[in-house]
Symmetry: C2
Subunit: 735 residues, 2 copies
């Protein structure tokens, strides 16, 4: 079943439909061209999917690539053709024939192919788990749950599944020999206050799940979060007959936070042991990693101040700590966002991540020697974004990086021995991908400002690739505005910043246009990339069509540019970010076709904070702003994210005062619309409502909208409505 | 001390400053005239008090009139001059001399003069009660409370006081002989669920307090309200460090309501007996009245459907019911809003109120004969508004009525024997007043469209009066718009409706002006009266100054025009009221200076309901609306008011569907701003939020503002901000 390297050499180009889309000056007399609607451009729109590039949904079955469609799967053969593999109809027939009840809304899109040695796919839903052998055309395993399960975590080794019901944790152990399932209840005191097996620390520190199967599939490491001491934030559900309280546990900056413990459940002994982490008050635990022999557990232990982290080793059987094997300190903050990766060919050595040089790099560590051996990714200009995995044969790691360009994501194969890096795939654009089981093959989906979407199939040893799909230009036939990318110096005078500029559709260089700055500005996000339209959002196209210049700049404080680029904002969020946005505004003002008396700004979340802050700080520059789900006062934001960048209100009172926008509500001069999700558990409504209240007291007049029932972001049809509303506000006041 | 009738005959006109203000066409070349600011015109404005007419704060001390100022009191002498009576400085001196601690913020404005035979005033605050003898210049009684008291109810007989602390009820009995106070705790299980001694049934049915002293001052009748079975509505206080839940007990239409019991506490026996009212589920008890001998208690017992009420008599000592002595039924609803009034000269007879003829009238009832003797106020065109009291000497009642004109309030003295009515005071305008102890004298404060404010002193036997104060024209020197009053036919084709019309300041008949309809439209309120500016609100003047025509109409469904005028709206609130408003709009459209393409509408509460409803029902007529604290869905309004007019959602599903504005959110075409108090316990936020949600789902775009911390109405500086915001919306979209 393993695809040999040689195969790629015999590959033939499959027939593809390819149209190059180069940003063009829209020809203003193309009267027959179509106009975009918001439904075309915004996710959730009725016609949104029509205007998306072609895509290819795939999964690895061992080292064979499977293409997944709703109702069938195909497999890539040695001639690089898709051969039929199985169909949903066959599965449904088998279900029926075996007298089972077909789950509702079944499609193949979530199919898993856990084991390259078995012709078996696994389907997991909110109330079922089944497996199907496409060779035997039989259902092999069948589990149905009366009560919905969530946080499903499937062990590819053995096939056991961990899941949560009502905040308690369960395992259904799969005894494959007997085809039986053994049910384990791991906790019984779960509830609002005590949460088992779910993501903790509000998904900061790279945490996105709460259970971790041992490599042998026999033990489950899991988080337990005690949030009984955390204050409730009172959200309200207005959709019930009488509005009902919908409280969430929300620890605000400087307030009492939750306590996390880590258990290890052994399915053989049916016992849980707890890792002896010491007093867990104000501590964070992340990067949970099993040793390859399933005997040790490693994790990063971070203090509440987030300036010191220790990599600790535990005995998985006893929970006893075996000491700190590595530690890191930074006077601002450290950010352990990734677990460890053991070398498949040497279980003594693992790779860890660090920004200690100023950029994300991967370091090789020896357990025997108890020391870091070397930086595997030294000598590159840029950061490592992702470690996709290993090619054990070539003893190399496959990484995604910004090494080629600060606005690109490109793959490299890096030799663990020599550190020599070999680029993989196109040298352009933004790439994402997934390695096959042994790392010999890589499926690479990418885009650039010239390429809507392309999917390549790459041999990670040779670097040879074949293209499986090139999308057409989904905007063909429409009036597409000119979208360009450029650089401007940051307010520090030397750092290069990237911007995206969209000119109005049917651009006339002799006209004066209003301009809107779209801003985010916060950490862990960037907006300008060498992807289709330079990453531009549909709304920007729409605004261009209505006759606006749109401008987007990634200033200092944003991501993928290294530690110091980001942490310049430490303890005074907003200050440097605004200075950099104003560098962009200065550039805009020099453009002869921009009417700098009609400048607007819009942003969401951190961008809502920036928008409001810019409106208050530069009232003479910005006439109109629309802030969505904004942070207004960082003391109302949560502990984990907030304190990383701001410390606590107690230790940084001046910082919290400086960027508390309520205290400057009286400075509002232009028109400012604030929009928030009424059930936003991220930026709780108290932010916006406090600012509205402060403006009312100060005698200034913001405008307001809320989406009852929506959380931090509007989705589906609400997202269309939202952008109609945002657009109308600029049309009302900036036109 | 008693002022003899003859005194008035010797009265001389005191020197008064008098300017007649007649509505005038504003002269457009009066360039030197001043412009109003919102602060001048709106309560809560910084300069609002400056532009108010002169006033006279007074109280009766027996039959002597006392003028109260912050720091002194004067008494009207026989020559109708004010003589100094006492000063705050004297009181403060006495407090100091007697070694007592002066309460903070002491002024005389709340002074009481309970007993015409004693030279003693009583002051009651939230944490003190004291009395002062202005002849002896001594503090006679001194009580200080550690914890704030509320719902203070002072018995003029004897001087005991009932009050509430944390929803429990207490009496401090005054033993005047010994100058001592005896403390009584009447309840100890008070709390959120069980409330003692406070107003019940959400202040409907004329209820505005929860304790009722017996005439002998020895027993206290009180309400106990059990609301443990009532659902919480989750209001949220965002002014705390972390937003906190602020739940209120709020029974919505058709839902489980509270249960009320009535206790009688005897200060001699220190026992409470409970009136045996039977099962108190879904029952209302109002009009609580003691018999003059303190032995009986009467009350109206109303069913939840509010279409039948029984006047019941109870033995105050045992609580035993002595039967129903009178009852009333109406197929729509009955409205017992007033207690009984026993004739001072015949304790067998009392007066009760009824609308059974179609208008509020007063009926004489004999307990002995167990029957209604006669309608004391028959034969008049209009309603009785208030029974001020009796003149026992002339055996007459003094009433305030609309008998003179549907837009006026005028006093009459009516002979209980003959029913003959004698007008008292000016035949113009809107009067309010208070009778002296024996009813021989009446202080009459009034206004008309020609008179800003006047205070007259009237002999109720002879009708002779002397004027104590005539205010200047507080608008003198300002650009005042023309305000007129007129009539239009209701949509029924025959009922006369009154409107008020304000033309733009500096009116030019050749121009076309935008017009704004200000609307309330609901029961128990009217807007157009023969008072200063025909009752116009300051904002209307402000809008006229900005160049708007403002129009206000009292349609059917509003108050003071009798039962059938009001109850035409039964089970379908909004329908007839809108038809009548459109009669006004038709009239507006015929005015050559009104631009009927620029028509706006604004209203609050019921007027917010009307505004939203008009915007949805007549989208072609109204371009812009501002709805404040609106009812959107009557099933979200409370039981007592809501079910009176709409029955329950269960028994009137079609009616609730017809006026549920959420179901018509898709009909919104014009610009609609909705504003609500974030802590509104009257029209809870679910109304506005449900409508906003419905619009978002339907793809329409209302605008929004909320005032966190404010309740149903904005007060103080917020009221100015609110009207700036409302005005800006019309300026943005209607100009």
């Amino acid at each position: 079943m393993v695809v040999k390297d040689g195969i790629l050499m015999r590959m033939m180009r499959i027939k593809i439909f390819l149209v190059f889309m180069i940003p063009v000056l829209a020809v203003s007399n193309m009267a027959q061209s179509k106009q975009f609607t918001l439904d075309d451009l915004i996710p959730g729109g009725k016609t949104y999917k029509v205007l998306q590039p072609l895509s290819l949904t795939s999964a690895w079955w061992g080292n064979r690539l499977i293409r997944i469609e709703k109702d069938k799967c195909s497999i890539l053969n040695q001639r690089i053709n898709w051969e039929p593999l199985l169909s949903l109809a066959d599965i449904k027939d088998a279900i029926k024939a075996q007298g089972l009840e077909e789950p509702k809304g079944l499609t193949l899109l979530s199919a898993r192919f856990p084991n390259g040695d078995k012709t078996e796919l696994v389907m997991i839903g909110s109330n079922y788990l089944f497996s199907y052998d496409w060779k035997l055309k039989r259902i092999l395993r069948w589990q149905v749950y009366d009560e919905a399960i969530s946080y499903q975590d499937f062990s590819n080794t053995g096939g056991s599944i961990a899941y949560s019901q009502n905040n308690d944790l369960f395992v259904d152990e799969y005894l494959s020999q007997k085809g039986q399932v053994k049910h384990h209840r791991i906790s019984s005191d779960g509830g609002v206050n005590l949460v088992y097996g779910q993501s903790v620390h509000r998904n900061e520190f790279g945490i996105n799940k709460g259970t971790f199967w041992s490599p042998d599939g026999r033990s489950l490491c899991f988080y337990q979060m005690d949030q009984s001491m955390v204050a409730d934030y009172p959200l309200v559900d207005i959709s019930t007959r009488i509005a009902t309280l919908q409280p969430i546990k929300y620890p605000m900056a400087g307030e009492t936070s939750h306590k996390v413990s880590i258990g290890v459940y052994n399915t053989l002994t049916r016992q849980t042991v707890w890792l002896q982490t010491g007093d867990n008050t104000d501590q964070y635990y992340t990067g949970i990693t099993w040793s390859p022999d399933s005997k040790k557990i490693f994790l990063y232990h971070l203090n509440r101040d987030q300036n010191r982290c220790e990599l600790q080793q535990f005995n998985a059987e006893t929970g006893v700590s075996e000491g700190v094997i590595y530690e890191e300190y930074h006077q601002k903050y450290v950010e352990p966002q990734h677990g460890l990766a053991f070398l498949p060919w040497d279980s003594d050595k693992f790779i860890y991540w660090s920004q200690k040089t100023g950029y994300d790099n991967l370091y090789l560590y020896s357990l025997k020697e108890k020391r870091t051996l070397r930086n595997l990714t030294a000598g590159h200009d840029g950061v490592v974004l992702e470690l996709l995995g290993f090619n054990a044969k070539t003893k190399s790691i496959i990484v995604n990086t910004t090494w080629t360009s600060p606005i690109q994501h490109n793959f490299y194969s890096v030799s663990v021995e020599s550190g020599k890096a070999q680029p993989l795939g196109s040298a352009k654009g933004i790439h994402s991908g997934k390695l096959s089981a042994d790392g010999s093959l890589l499926i690479d989906t990418w885009t650039s400002h010239e390429v809507p979407r392309q999917v390549d199939y790459i041999n990670t040893a040779t670097g040879k690739s074949v293209t499986l799909l090139v999308s057409y230009d989904q905007w063909n036939g429409y009036d597409v505005p000119e979208i360009s990318c450029g650089m401007v110096k940051a307010a520090d005078g030397h750092t290069d910043l990237y911007y995206r500029l969209i000119k109005p559709t049917h651009f006339d260089p002799n006209k004066k246009y209003p301009a809107v700055v779209y801003v985010y500005g916060g950490p862990h996000t960037r907006l300008v990339t060498d992807s289709w339209g330079y990453g531009c959002r549909g709304w920007e196209i729409y605004m261009a069509q209505l006759g606006y210049v749109v401008f987007v700049l990634d200033g200092r404080g944003s991501s993928e540019r290294g530690r110091d680029f980001e942490n310049v904002t430490f303890r005074h969020l907003g200050r440097e970010e605004m200075k950099d946005q104003m560098q962009g505004v200065r550039l805009l003002s020099t453009l002869p076709y921009v009417d700098s008396n009609r400048l607007g700004v819009h942003g969401w979340s951190y961008g809502g904070f920036m928008t409001t802050n810019l409106m208050l700080t530069y009232p003479e520059e910005f006439k109109v702003g629309v802030a969505g789900g904004p942070v207004i006062d960082w003391s109302l934001y949560e502990v984990m994210y907030g304190e990383r960048y701001m410390d606590t209100p107690q230790t940084n009172p001046d910082g919290y005062k400086e960027n508390n926008l309520c205290l400057r509500a009286g400075d509002l001069k232009g028109r400012l619309l604030i929009i928030f999700g009424y059930n936003d558990p991220v930026c709780v409504p108290q932010h916006t409502l406090s600012f509205i209240r402060a403006c009312e007291t100060a005698g200034t007049h913001p405008d307001l909208l809320t989406y009852p029932g929506d959380e931090h972001n509007m989705q589906g049809a609400d997202r269309i409505h939202l952008h109609e509303h945002i657009t109308r506000y600029f049309e009302d006041h900036l036109k």
